[in-house]
């Protein structure tokens, strides 16, 4: 596979590229879904091919093919360069790549059990069994469970001498139960609403204990139908850790992507409220807020050896004691900003141009705990598990809904509440963070469904998140 990539790079250079790299990739995916006691789907896919990137002037040219032959590799390299050349009619300042170490290396995800070697029947039995358990609870209308596994081999070659192979293994899934009233539906999920994913083998799934949680999930879904609605107003809000993870993803992760800050995503994903001139001075949140992007974190979903530009995985400070200090970057964007490249450029398969992507962007744990937060709250709401998410194109104005909430009165959890929502403005909201859970309650949540780019790419991101408390938050916004 290295040879195909090398041939493509040489062809791109011969066709005029000032820099070129190529990734030959084989990605295997397996996904299973069960619903109401039946295995609804079991699918496998294998995507193999070559993607070539060529830089000329201000534009990347990129071309992908699934034809893994010498002739096709040469043509792919030439086409990538010619495509970049065609951009010259609408040219801008030349792109320059920040320096990175040139490596020849191999990286492999540590994993104990190859998920593709586990019998399909064992996985199917697990999913069918937990949906049967959930559906057995009176009032559950739909019980679903799913698992997904990815096995990716990458062979990266650059015109600067990189030659890196990686074998990445990812696994995860989840389940949910839905109940209905005459007018609305309610859902509870586990481990979180999109499923939870990590780098690793089938041991990731075994840690979930889906059977041990199925009954509770179903009972909570049914209880929600008759629970009172979350009242509207301004209150103290405690977020369960998976909701904190999504809060980080939407209002910190995307906002600190350097390509967004530079306007490269303006028309689709949007820009950012952040201005590079404010780096190092802007107050992002309270002094409790420390955010890092760490692609070296064991088990987390966005952990790898090298990004898709051959830059080593690393840990970068993004927010330190509430002050914005770092960005998510690649070689081209980092050079423009005058910053060291963060090793955060990845593509969704061989046929997509790599772009700035969140790695494991999460909170450094605090020293409190969920119990202490509840005990310290006279009047508030505890919200858990995301149900809806929406944020504006500058990553400022957000509104989240969660599956469930509980009222907090005089330091104790009270009634379950349905249809909870909260809304806020990013820096003001993070500025109200006043209690943060510790390491024991910090989970490296993994999201497999982050959309960005044109053509659309789906990214896998990680978010270390403890439970957290915020004060003076507007809750209970409904139509």
């Amino acid at each position: 596979m290295f040879d195909f990539a090398q041939r493509a790079v040489e062809a791109a250079l011969a066709a005029g590229a000032t820099y070129a790299d190529a990734r030959a990739m084989v990605t295997r995916e397996e996904s299973l879904e069960a619903r109401n006691g039946s295995l609804e789907s079991a699918e496998r896919s294998e995507r193999a091919g070559l993607g070539v990137r060529a830089l000329i002037g201000s534009s990347w040219g990129f071309f992908a093919t699934n034809d893994l032959t010498d002739a096709a590799a040469t043509r792919a390299g030439e086409t990538a360069a010619h495509t970049a050349q065609a951009s010259a009619t609408v040219a801008g300042p030349d792109l320059v790549l920040a320096d990175v170490p040139v490596r020849q290396d191999h990286y492999e995800t540590p994993h104990a059990e190859d998920p593709f070697a586990i019998a399909l029947s064992e996985k199917a039995d697990l999913l069918v069994g937990v949906t049967e358990t959930m559906q057995a609870v009176d009032g559950v209308a739909v019980a679903r469970a799913g698992l997904s596994f990815w096995d990716t081999e990458k062979f990266f070659v650059s015109s600067q001498g990189h030659r890196i192979s990686q074998h990445l293994v990812e696994a995860g899934g989840g389940m949910d139960a839905t109940s209905m009233s005459e007018t609305e539906s309610q859902r509870r999920s586990y481990p979180q609403s999109f499923g939870h994913f990590e780098t690793g083998g089938y041991e990731v799934v075994r840690r979930f204990d889906l059977p041990g949680n199925a009954g509770r999930v179903a009972e909570e879904a049914v209880a929600l139908v008759t629970a009172p609605e979350c009242p509207a107003g301004e209150t103290t809000l405690i977020l369960e850790s998976s909701q904190v993870a999504l809060q980080i993803h939407e209002s910190v992760g995307h906002a600190t992507e350097l390509d967004r800050i530079l306007g490269w995503e303006a028309a689709f994903a949007g820009t950012s409220f952040l201005d590079l001139a404010q780096l190092g001075t802007l107050t992002y949140g309270s002094p409790l807020m420390n955010i890092v992007a760490d692609a070296t974190l064991p088990r987390a979903l966005a952990t790898f050896g090298y990004d898709d530009e051959g830059t080593p995985a690393q840990r970068v400070d993004i927010v330190r004691e509430g002050i914005w200090v770092g960005v998510l970057s690649g070689r081209d964007s980092a050079h423009i900003a005058g910053l060291p490249p963060g090793g955060m450029v990845r593509g969704d398969g061989f046929n997509r141009l790599p772009m700035v992507r969140m790695t494991n962007v999460g909170l450094v744990p605090g020293d409190s705990s969920l119990d202490e937060m509840i005990a310290a709250t006279d009047d508030g709401v505890y919200m858990a598990t995301n149900r809806s998410w929406s944020i504006d194109d500058k990553r400022l104005n957000f509104q989240f809904g969660t599956e469930v909430a509980w009222e907090i009165k005089n330091g104790k959890l009270g009634r379950m509440l349905r249809n909870p929502t909260y809304t806020g403005i990013t820096p003001q909201f993070w500025g109200t963070l006043d209690m943060l859970g510790g390491p024991a309650e910090t989970i490296p949540w993994g999201l497999p469904n982050c959309g960005k780019g044109q053509p659309m790419q789906t990214g896998h991101t990680g978010h270390m998140a403890p439970p957290a408390r915020f004060v003076g938050v507007r809750v209970g916004v409904r139509g």
Binding site: R44, T83, T89, M180, A266, S388, D392, N397, P455, V477
Partner: protein, 444 residues
Amino acid sequence: MNDPRTDLCERVLGLVDGRAEAAVMVTSVRTGLTRFANSFVHQHVGEETVAVSLKVANEGRVAAAESTRVGDDALLALVESTLEICKLRPVDEDWPGFAPPDDVSDVAHHDPATDDASPSARAAQVRAFVDAGPGLRAAGYVDSESAAVAFASTTGHTATARATRATVDGIHQSDTSAGKGHATSVRLSDIDGATTGAIAADLATRGAAPTDIEPGHYQVVLAPECVATIAVFLSAYGFNAKEYLEGQSFVDLDTQQFDPAFSMWDDVTDSRALGIPFDTEGTPKRPLEMVRDGVSTALVHDRRTARKSGVDSTGHAIPGGEVWGPFPSNVFVAPGGQSVDELVADVDRGLLVTEFNYCRVLDPKTQVVTGLTRNGTFLVEKGAIVRPVTNLRFTQSFVEALAPGSVLGVGSAARFADCEFGVGVVHAPAMRLAAWNFTGGARG
């Protein structure tokens, strides 16, 4: 000579060799996308790939797999591994079987020139878009896409089709505003970067220096992008038969759920439509009225939901449809008789909204959705636009917004409009609605 994709289908069915029922779909795509930001092209991509999808069924045990490897050894491995998976699966009690032989409509949604569109041709459209907004910053893309698809199954059903699509979609930005332009067609030659860019530049210019407005209930004139988003949410979460069968849909068939001015249908045979005329199960896509004069009339089905409902599939199966259910991808919203200026002229006090952003369903059954405005929101008083306003957040039931008595006017100029589910999916006009619930401003 056979289509090479048909040959590939036959090779795969030959490898199955009667050991199971089987259906094969082979899809070849050629795409090119020229992306620009800060008024220059920064990402310029192309792709030529082939994928083989195989589904096998043996006495109710069903398995599916897909591969981009098309060599003899790889195809044999695909077949053998799919048959192995099939043996391990439990019997699917709801398995509807493969589609029987049927005639597929002959649609003309393929343009050879678009199929062969060069990077330079797309870049020329970008140049025109950028030049239409002097002094503004442009961002967006021009793309061209072609797909050639062949389907064959052991039931004897075969189908082939080709389709192309081209889109220009972009914004012009000032320091305080943005405006959007969008055009989609089967043919790249139909789209015009200069015209689309001029629309975006005009909105950005008129939208400059917006000021805040108090959230609350406002009458609204929604541009086609907003109406397309509403239509696609109603389709995905309501007229999707799987959602309906599971009790998660708002749809109440044969009931006046919407204003009589609202009609919506799906029709791949329309000359303006995009895409191929059969679904991922090989079933011909049937023209289907979902809403006629405000009355919910029909659901979209794949073979599984059709079997459960005792009806025929309408040909709306999609990849991943076992999980998500069927989905219409050629949706048309009925136009009316007023220009956008006439719709605005009828507003005493309200907002003109050009686009929604990041819409998410709070509850599929009530269709309460939260989202924001983007790329141009304007206050209208006494029939005239008086000033641009900053973006607003809304939390609004889409069904209630279109309820009887709520649609006060419909635009005459319908077009393909961008929506949350991709381009070329919904063809929609502008619309004036009695009330829209804005629950927050850009600053909270």
